[in-house]
């Protein structure tokens, strides 16, 4: 596919029509870069399996409509539902806009600012971060101070609606966790509406020395909506990251998770579960840069695939020169329920240091027929037995959820997705 173009005039107008703020200058520079680079294409090695055609199309139609921002009132019910099912201090970003109240939330030890209040504009170096910075109305900057004692996790509720016209929204969140501070963070992405939607998120999180973060990301979008996301995490010395990501919904999903192990004795656990059914495409690219050692990273992603769908997992670990004593593990396991389900799994290791312990493994398997038969001889029908086996397959990720208070609601979400998969998408 050739570099898909959006009308540069329409894009420039959309940027021009954003509320003026300190971000305006960055927007122009980011726009110039995006117009030059465009959307990543499948000719790029990193994007080989993921064609952004759907997303380009939505963006084009959105621009043709004058780049509207729908009212967020229609989402009140959904917002209330998330609030009631997961206990967190929620900051709501609806259709790419920071909702009233988010900036005034008073949480002891946590400072919340708009990105437009900061002296420096957002970074837009990485692919699609330029599009994000160009079209960004505003973003959030969160500082979690050393004294912060969170009573409940801090949650970012990223919600979009595209009722009748296509929509596009940009999300940018920066989080700094101070030295020795402890943070519990949740990102929850969801959406409603029958028209196409594209959400582009850029999240940057830094953990200072000795800081720790328990981080859960849930992407539970409507199956007609698409998302790209880049999450960058920087770990200073002795910091600990416990990350768990879930992709349950969405049509075309591309996640880039970049973990920068910048200080010795940093420790990152990265776990992910993706559940894909008919028509879904979920791509997870995880890159861990070990810049110094000793330090540890361990990632495990699991996928449950049904219907006609395609998933991609690419786990790259780069152990840089001098990062001696690195311990890096990568694993990816997939359960394919149907013939139409496809997975491209690729672990990559680049090692330029001595004395490192690295391992990787990927598996692709089908349902265990003997187990399925055994369960059926006990009276469970095929759907229920399938669900029991898929649930068991995902359980090793679900059980590692670092924020215990949300485990029940998360298990229910996974369950409801698996139910959908077992009911309609096994043909």
């Amino acid at each position: 596919m050739t570099a898909p173009a959006l009308s540069s005039e329409a894009l420039a107008d959309a940027v021009e029509n954003l509320p003026r703020s300190a971000l305006s200058a960055t927007r122009q520079a980011a726009l110039a870069q995006f117009l030059e680079r465009g959307f990543p294409t499948t000719r790029l090695e990193d994007w080989k399996y993921t064609d952004l055609g759907t997303i380009v199309d939505i963006s084009r139609r959105w621009l043709e409509n004058g780049a509207p921002v729908p009212a967020s009132a229609a989402m009140d019910d959904q917002i209330a539902e998330v609030r009631s099912s997961i206990d967190a201090d929620w900051l709501v970003l609806a259709n790419g806009r920071i909702m009233d109240g988010a900036l005034d939330a008073a949480i002891p030890g946590i400072t919340i600012k708009a990105l437009s209040e900061l002296p420096q504009g957002p970074n837009f170096e990485r692919p699609l971060a330029d599009l994000n910075a160009a079209l960004l109305s505003d973003g959030l900057h969160i500082s979690i101070g050393p004294g912060a004692e969170q009573e409940r996790p801090l949650g970012f509720l990223i919600i979009d609606s595209a009722e009748s016209d296509p929509g596009v929204s940009q999300i940018r969140i920066e989080i700094d966790v101070a030295a020795d501070a402890q943070a519990q963070l949740i990102e929850y992405h969801t959406s409603t509406g029958n028209a196409g939607h594209y959400s582009n998120s850029v999240i940057a999180c830094t953990l200072a020395e000795g800081a720790s973060a328990e981080y859960v990301r849930v992407q539970n979008r409507d199956l007609k909506h698409s998302q790209t996301q880049r999450t960058s995490m920087r770990l200073a010395a002795r910091s600990v990251l416990r990350y768990c990501g879930f992709d349950l919904g969405g049509q075309l999903i591309r996640n880039d998770l970049d973990i920068d192990i910048a200080g010795s004795e940093a420790d990152a656990s990265i776990n992910g579960l993706y559940v894909a059914g008919d028509g879904q495409h979920i791509d997870n690219h995880v890159r861990v840069d070990h810049r110094t050692g000793p330090a540890r990273s361990a990632q495990e992603y699991r996928g449950i695939l049904g219907g006609r769908c395609r998933c991609v997992w690419n786990g790259k670990a780069i152990v840089h020169k001098g990062a001696d004593g690195t311990d890096a593990k990568q694993a990816n396991h997939n359960l394919l329920l149907t013939e139409g389900a496809e997975i491209d799994a690729k672990p990559e290791l680049e090692i330029y240091a001595d004395d490192v312990k690295c391992s990787h493994g990927t598996t692709v398997g089908q349902l265990d027929e003997a187990a399925l038969f055994y369960l059926r001889t006990r009276g469970l029908d095929r759907k229920e037995a399938t669900r029991a086996l898929t649930r068991a397959f995902g359980a090793s990720i679900v059980s590692r959820l670092p924020i215990a208070s949300m485990s029940e609601s998360l298990a229910a979400m996974v369950e409801s997705r698996l139910r959908g998969l077992a009911n309609g998408e096994l043909s």
Binding site: F373, T377, R378, L380, A392
Partner: protein, 250 residues
């Protein structure tokens, strides 16, 4: 209750059952014995509905209806239980979940109310106590890491909870220590009733000392060579299978 008439079945191109006929009535206990590889487990798996075995001719009726057209879960809900010779390990699927789901699948089928978690645990613990099983097995994965004997007890636990009308126990007595054998035998005996039938596939007289069969059959090369009462089992113990084969061909 179960009528098997001139059954031929194969796996792939290999014929395994060769004209097997067997009639089992409610209230009866049948023992099926026979050399390794003669087709005992194949018969049991076919009755339970395993799809790998292809019935090439013959019929099987259960409670007056064709059995072979039913899905495995329908057979289970209609009261058929198979205790596997090799129970399957299912890591990550909780034993309690399976037991409860199995009990409720049967109850829903019969138009009864489902048992709730509380009630279920009460019944399960009772049955486990009778079988000398530690309640901690409820929280483990189905057969996951169970010892050979523990797996067999778990099969009997499932049977005790499901209270089947037709129980087929495929070498449930193999690999059991003497206490376990007694517990399993008690489990089987407590299920004996005029409404139920039990089929024991076994290699040993030992189990039959505790669970007295009404009929003993010898299965060889895919068909029943000889049937008799419990004295046949003792005779076999003495004389081996060659004696039956010779007698059959004579």
């Amino acid at each position: 209750m179960l009528e098997i008439d001139d059954l031929y079945a194969s796996i792939g191109d290999t014929p395994i059952l060769n004209g097997l006929s067997l009639s089992i009535n409610a209230g009866e206990v049948h023992a099926i014995m026979g050399p390794n590889g003669s087709g005992k487990s194949t018969l049991a798996q076919i009755i339970a509905g395993h799809e790998d075995y292809v019935v090439t001719s013959g019929t099987v009726t259960y409670k007056g209806n064709d059995l072979l057209g039913l899905e495995p879960e329908q057979r289970a809900r209609e009261g058929i239980f198979l205790g596997f010779q090799y129970p399957v390990e299912i890591p990550g699927v909780n034993n309690a979940y399976l037991l409860k789901a199995a009990v409720n699948a049967g109850r829903i089928h019969r138009g009864q109310d489902e048992v709730d978690a509380f009630e279920f645990l009460k019944i399960a613990r009772e049955k486990m106590a009778q079988l000398g099983m530690d309640p901690k097995f409820l929280n483990r994965g189905v057969n996951e890491g169970f010892s050979g004997g523990e797996k067999k007890r778990n099969e009997i636990l499932q049977m005790a909870l499901l209270e089947p009308e037709l129980a087929i126990l495929d070498e449930t007595d193999s690999g059991l220590d003497i206490d376990a054998l007694k517990a399993v035998a008690e489990g089987i005996n407590s299920l004996r009733s005029p409404e139920r039938a039990i089929v024991l596939v076994t290699h040993y007289q030992r189990l039959l000392d505790y669970v007295e069969p009404d009929f003993v059959h010898v299965l060889s090369e895919g068909k029943i060579l000889r049937s008799g009462d419990k004295s046949l089992a003792m005779e076999l113990e003495d004389k081996g299978y060659d004696w039956v084969r010779e007698a059959a061909s004579a």
